[in-house]
Symmetry: C2
């Protein structure tokens, strides 16, 4: 009869409840027992719904305290899916290729968005600090001003990490060249510098 699984229904109701009460990150949601009573379902069903949301990184549970809304940035979903997906060699190549493509898009976005002042600021940051590759590109991501895009990049970065490749040298000079090209709003030069940074063959990677 009841074709829709209870826990999915609970997920739905929880979402509505959160929206209705305008709950925000860090707010507490009702206890499992209270939800069980209010929704007329068993506590185990409530827990199945909560576990699903927890794995998605949407809530956080603390024993002895309660369950809280969570900011959905940087959930562990990625690693999980990654360990399931990243199996064969082809998949690894896909990760690298995709990350490179995304980063070039990122540069294109920065070219259209970032003003010189922001870039100068980044330049001094690179000069005075010892930014690693992830940190440098994370700075760029912020200049691109596209949250969804940054999420995708963060995921790819994690995937890339889980490949546990060798490199990760320090490339301050390349970063500075990249910034210079961005300041000049020279797309050709920007992308060329990036390819050099990533050791991409110009022949094989024309994109």
């Amino acid at each position: 009869m009841t074709n829709t699984k209870v826990y999915l229904e609970i997920v739905k109701q929880l979402r509505e409840m959160i929206a209705a009460d305008n709950l925000k990150s860090g707010d507490k949601i009702p206890s499992e027992r209270e939800l069980s009573e209010r929704l007329n379902v068993g506590r185990s069903s409530v827990r199945e719904a909560l576990r699903a949301l927890e794995l998605l990184g949407l809530i956080e549970t603390r024993r002895g305290e309660g369950t809280f809304i969570r900011d959905f940035r940087g959930n562990q979903l990625v690693q999980l899916l990654g360990t399931f997906i990243l199996q064969d060699e082809k998949a690894k190549l896909d990760v690298i290729e995709t990350k490179n493509l995304i980063e070039m898009d990122l540069l294109r976005l920065v070219l259209t968005r970032a003003d010189e002042k922001q870039l100068i600021k980044l330049k001094s940051l690179v000069e005075t600090n010892h930014l690693n590759d992830d940190q440098f590109f994370y700075q760029l991501i912020e200049l691109a001003d596209n949250y969804l895009f940054s999420r995708i990049w963060l995921i790819l970065k994690d995937y890339h990490h889980s490949l546990s490749l060798k490199n990760e040298e320090y490339n301050r000079d390349s970063y500075l060249m990249l910034i210079e090209a961005l300041v000049e709003k020279d797309q050709e030069k920007t992308l060329a510098t990036y390819r050099q940074l990533r050791n991409l063959s110009i022949l094989t990677d024309k994109y």
Copy 2:
């Protein structure tokens, strides 16, 4: 004492189990009761792990039959996250922008990968069938031969749908022009055609 939650441990063990037995899409995994015994945990804990995996789209449960490995395409995860994330206007613009960027990357990949034969085949497909926009780009995605990339696009497509925009006209002519440009391996022309298809202002979208 046991700081790691049991259900997460079960998720991990399930993953190892799947890898060890080399289980593939459609294969059956042990029943909840059997897992409960083999892992020395309560059945409810097993279920919490399974529900989490189910929501991720990694498994599928059928009452009366069992639980099966699933191919991780088209899970409802996207809609779920979408309803949580896609709230303000800025987010919507981000989706559109990101999808456009990804699709242009897709075209670049096709330029480097697809041979003329495949493109000719796609051309006849477009000519004889009434492909909508999603279907057309899905065909292209396959030519790009990057599974991770296709996943990203599929997610973006779903996000885009959930925005419930108006358009979705039929653009057979544009598709054919796009294919022609791809056959000629003319990146400029390809991207220009795409921008026209998406009504992107050349001024605002230089990427």
